[in-house]
C-alpha cells in the first residue's frame, strides 16, 4: 500500500516466503558481506537459500513412518497465566506417545512459550495437570521435572539455555553437575566433567577449540548443538524442543532435525514447538494446532498442508472448509 504512495521500503527478514511474496528486489548478505542482489521475479526460494548458505540445500527431512507406542506425555485441562496475570494457556489438552514427534503449530503469542515454561517448572500452573511417564509433574520444580525424564531445548538459548561466560564443559553439565561422578560430597570433580564434555563434543560435532573455551565464543549453531548434546544425551523419555533451529544456518538445522528424528526412533516422545510451518510439516508425525491457549485441532502431518494449517492457526475450523475466511 505504501508502495503505491511512492515510498521506499526495506524489509529485513530470514523468511524466504515473505521475500518471494512482497519484494521486488532482494539483497542476500552472509557474514556481514553482500553476496548479491537479484530481482525476485527471476529467482526461487531454493536459489535464495543457496546464496544464503553458499551450497545447495535440501529442505526435506528423511524419516521412516512413526511407530508410536504408549502415551508418555499427557496434559489435561492446563491453565497458565502470563506475567500480566492473563490466562494464556486455557484448558489445553495434549497427549504425546513414545516414538512420535508431535509438532505444536501456531501463530506466535498463542501460549506456546507459557505452555513450555509451565511444563518444565519455570512457570506456575494455575489449574490442570501434566503427566510424564505416569508421574504427575504438574507442580514440580525445574530440577524435579528434569529428573522425571524431561529434556528441554529452550526457545531462547541465550536467555535460558546456557551461561555465556561458562565454559563449554560447564554448560554441557548444566543439568547434571550436581550428580555423581561430577560432584562428590559437594566438591566438583573437574576431570570427570571434562572427560564427559569431550565425549559429547565429539559425538555431537560441536565445533570448539576445546571443552574449556567460553561458550560465548561459539557460533550460534554450535551453541545450540551444545545444548542439544546436554539435553538429548540424558536420554529423556520426553524431549521438548522449542524453536530448536531459530536463527541457525542450514547446516546446523539439518543436524538438529536429524537428532530429533533419531530420538523419536529410539522410542522417546518428542514435542516440537515451532513457528516455522516448514519445520513442523517436515518433522512432525502429528501436528497439534494451538490457538488462544488451546489445542484447536490435531492433524496427521502427511494428511495436511500449509494452507490448512494456516487456516487452523488463524482460528478457523477444519470442518468449516476454506470458503469461510
Amino acid at each position: 500500500m505504501w508502495q503505491t504512495e511512492g515510498k521506499s521500503i526495506i524489509l529485513i527478514t530470514h523468511k524466504l516466503k515473505e521475500i518471494m511474496q512482497v519484494c521486488d528486489r532482494c539483497t542476500v548478505i552472509r557474514r556481514g558481506r553482500g553476496v548479491g542482489t537479484v530481482d525476485v521475479a527471476d529467482t526461487s526460494e531454493n536459489k535464495l537459500a543457496e546464496m544464503m548458505v553458499g551450497r545447495e540445500v535440501s529442505f526435506a527431512v528423511e524419516k521412516e513412518t512413526a511407530v508410536p507406542k504408549e502415551t508418555v506425555l499427557s496434559i489435561k485441562d492446563l491453565q497458565v497465566e502470563d506475567t500480566r496475570k492473563v490466562d494464556v494457556v486455557n484448558g489445553l489438552n495434549l497427549d504425546v506417545r513414545a516414538g512420535e514427534i508431535v509438532g505444536v503449530a501456531g501463530v506466535d503469542g498463542n501460549g506456546q512459550t507459557e505452555l513450555v515454561e509451565a511444563m518444565t517448572g519455570l512457570r506456575l500452573v494455575k489449574a490442570g495437570s501434566v503427566t510424564v511417564s505416569e508421574q504427575d509433574i504438574t507442580h514440580y520444580k525445574p530440577r524435579k521435572v528434569t529428573e522425571a525424564g524431561v529434556g528441554h531445548i529452550p526457545e531462547d538459548r541465550h536467555k535460558h539455555g546456557m551461561v555465556m561466560a561458562f565454559t563449554v564443559a560447564e554448560n554441557m553439565l548444566l543439568q547434571t553437575y550436581y550428580q555423581f561422578p561430577y560432584t562428590k560430597k559437594g566438591i566438583l570433580n573437574y576431570p570427570n566433567i571434562y572427560e564427559k564434555a569431550k565425549a559429547l563434543i565429539q559425538e555431537y560435532d560441536v565445533r570448539t577449540p576445546n571443552e574449556k573455551t567460553p561458550a560465548r565464543s561459539l557460533s550460534g549453531g554450535n551453541q545450540q548443538k551444545m545444548i542439544i548434546a546436554r539435553e538429548v544425551n540424558r536420554s529423556p523419555d520426553m524431549l521438548i524442543a522449542a524453536q530448536p533451529t531459530r536463527g541457525l544456518d542450514v547446516g546446523a538445522i539439518e543436524f538438529i532435525h536429524g537428532k530429533l528424528v533419531e530420538e523419536r526412533d529410539k522410542g522417546h516422545a518428542v514435542l516440537l514447538v515451532s513457528l516455522e510451518l516448514d519445520e513442523i510439516l517436515n518433522l512432525s508425525d502429528r501436528i497439534a494446532v494451538i490457538y488462544e491457549g488451546t489445542i484447536v485441532d490435531i492433524v496427521k502431518a502427511d494428511e495436511t498442508d500449509e494452507k490448512e494449517l494456516g487456516l487452523l492457526m488463524a482460528g478457523g475450523k477444519r470442518e468449516a472448509g476454506e470458503g469461510q475466511r
Partner: protein, 353 residues
C-alpha cells in the same frame, strides 16, 4: 595477528595500565600543587619498604582489606553488589570483641569462638539484604548502604550502653581471644602485624576453593551470570542470592574480627566509617574479583595508605594523595572501555602503516 584484546592476558593488562594511569595522574597532581613527584613517590615507597615497621604495618593494613575485598568479590560473582561490607565489618568487629571480652575460655576455644562471632554477625548483616533481594526484588545496593549506617549507630549505642570502658572504647579483649603475635611484632620492629595475616591468606584460598571447586560455587557463579538459565538448570536462584550475601557478609565480619582481635584488641565508638568496606570495593575491582588479584591489590592499597603517612613527613605531600590515586585507579579499571579503545586505536594505526 594475535589481538591482545581477546587474549586472556588482557585481564591482567587492564589493572596494570589502570595502576600506571593512577600513579601518573598522582604525579601530575603533585606537579600542579608544587611538589616534586619524584621525592613524593620515593617517600611513598620508603614508607612501605624503608623500615621493617612500615612493612609490618602495610601487611597489617592488608588484613581487613583482603577480607573486605573478598566479601565484595564473592557477592559480585553472584551478580550482587555488596556495598554493605562496611556495616558487616563493623558488626563483625563489635561481635568478636564482645565475645573476646565476656567469655573466659582457653585459647583453642575462645579465639575461634570470637572469630565465629564476627562471622555470624557479618553474615546476619548480609542475610537481610540478601533476603530482601531474593524475596522482594529490593535492590541490594541501597539496602546495604542503609544497613551500614544502622550497623554503625547500633554498635555505637550498644558500646555506649553496656560496654564503654575508658574514653570512647570497650575494655581490652582477653589474651585468650587475641590474635596479637609477639613474634610477628618483633620481626617487624614492633608493628601491629598479627596472626590474622595468615587467616587472610587462608581466606583467599577458601574463596577460590568455594567458587571454583564446589557445587555451591558452580551455582553461585551460574546465578551471577544468568539467572534465567540457572533457574532452567534447576538451581534455586533465591537461595543462592541469600547464600551469597550471607557468605559475603561472613567474610566481612571476619575482617572486622581481625581488627577487634588483632589490630586494636578492643572496639570503639565510631564517629565515622572505617572505610575498610568501601576500600574493599576498590580492592575487589582492581583484583578482578579473583583471589590472587585481591591479595595483590590489597597490598597495593594497603601500601598506598601506609606509605602516604611517610609521604607527608618526608616530602610534605598531603596523605590524601593516596585516596586520589585509589579513586583514579578504580575509575580507570571501571572504564576499561577507554583502555580497550585506546589500545584498538593504537593497533589500527600500526596496521595502517
Amino acid at each position: 595477528m594475535k589481538n591482545l584484546l581477546t587474549s586472556r592476558w588482557f585481564g591482567l593488562f587492564i589493572p596494570l595500565i589502570a595502576i600506571g594511569f593512577g600513579f601518573f595522574a598522582g604525579a601530575l597532581i603533585m606537579l600542579i600543587s608544587g611538589n616534586n613527584p619524584v621525592t613524593g613517590y620515593v617517600a611513598l615507597v620508603e614508607g612501605v619498604f624503608g623500615d621493617l615497621y612500615y612493612f609490618g604495618e602495610t601487611l597489617q593494613q592488608m588484613i581487613p582489606l583482603i577480607f573486605s575485598g573478598i566479601a565484595v568479590a564473592f557477592a559480585f560473582r553472584t551478580g550482587l553488589l555488596n556495598i554493605g561490607v562496611e556495616g558487616q565489618l563493623i558488626v563483625g568487629w563489635f561481635a568478636a570483641v564482645i565475645v573476646g571480652i565476656s567469655i573466659e575460655a582457653p585459647l583453642m576455644i575462645h579465639l575461634p569462638l570470637a572469630i565465629l562471632g564476627g562471622a555470624i554477625a557479618g553474615a546476619l548483616w548480609g542475610f537481610v539484604p540478601g533476603l530482601l533481594k531474593a524475596r522482594l526484588q529490593v535492590h541490594e545496593v541501597i539496602v546495604t548502604i542503609m544497613m551500614n549506617y544502622i550497623a554503625m549507630h547500633v554498635a555505637n549505642a550498644l558500646i555506649r550502653a553496656y560496654f564503654q570502658e575508658s574514653g570512647q572504647r570497650t575494655a581490652f579483649i582477653h589474651d585468650s581471644a587475641s590474635l596479637a603475635s609477639e613474634f610477628l611484632a618483633e620481626i617487624t620492629n614492633f608493628s601491629r602485624l598479627h596472626w590474622g595475616f595468615f587467616l587472610a591468606v587462608l581466606a583467599c584460598v577458601l574463596m577460590w576453593f568455594l567458587l571454583w571447586k564446589t557445587k555451591l560455587g558452580f551455582e553461585l557463579r551460574s546465578v551471577g551470570h544468568n539467572r534465567q538459565a540457572s533457574a532452567y538448570a534447576g538451581m534455586n536462584v533465591n537461595t543462592n542470592i541469600i547464600m551469597s550475601m550471607s557468605i559475603s557478609g561472613g567474610f566481612a565480619g571476619v575482617g572486622g574480627a581481625m581488627l577487634g582481635l588483632g589490630t586494636f584488641e578492643y572496639a570503639e565508638i565510631l564517629s565515622s566509617f572505617t572505610d575498610y568496606g568501601f576500600d574493599g570495593i576498590a580492592v575487589a575491582l582492581l583484583g578482578a574479583s579473583n583471589a590472587i588479584g585481591i591479595f595483590f591489590s590489597s597490598f597495593l592499597f594497603g601500601g598506598l595508605q601506609q606509605g602516604a603517612n611517610n609521604m607527608q613527613g618526608q616530602a610534605n605531600v598531603a596523605p590524601e594523595l593516596a585516596d586520589i590515586i585509589i579513586a583514579l585507579i578504580i575509575f580507570f579499571v571501571a572504564s576499561s572501555y577507554l583502555i580497550r579503545w585506546i589500545y584498538s586505536r593504537l593497533q589500527s594505526k600500526k596496521e595502517g602503516k
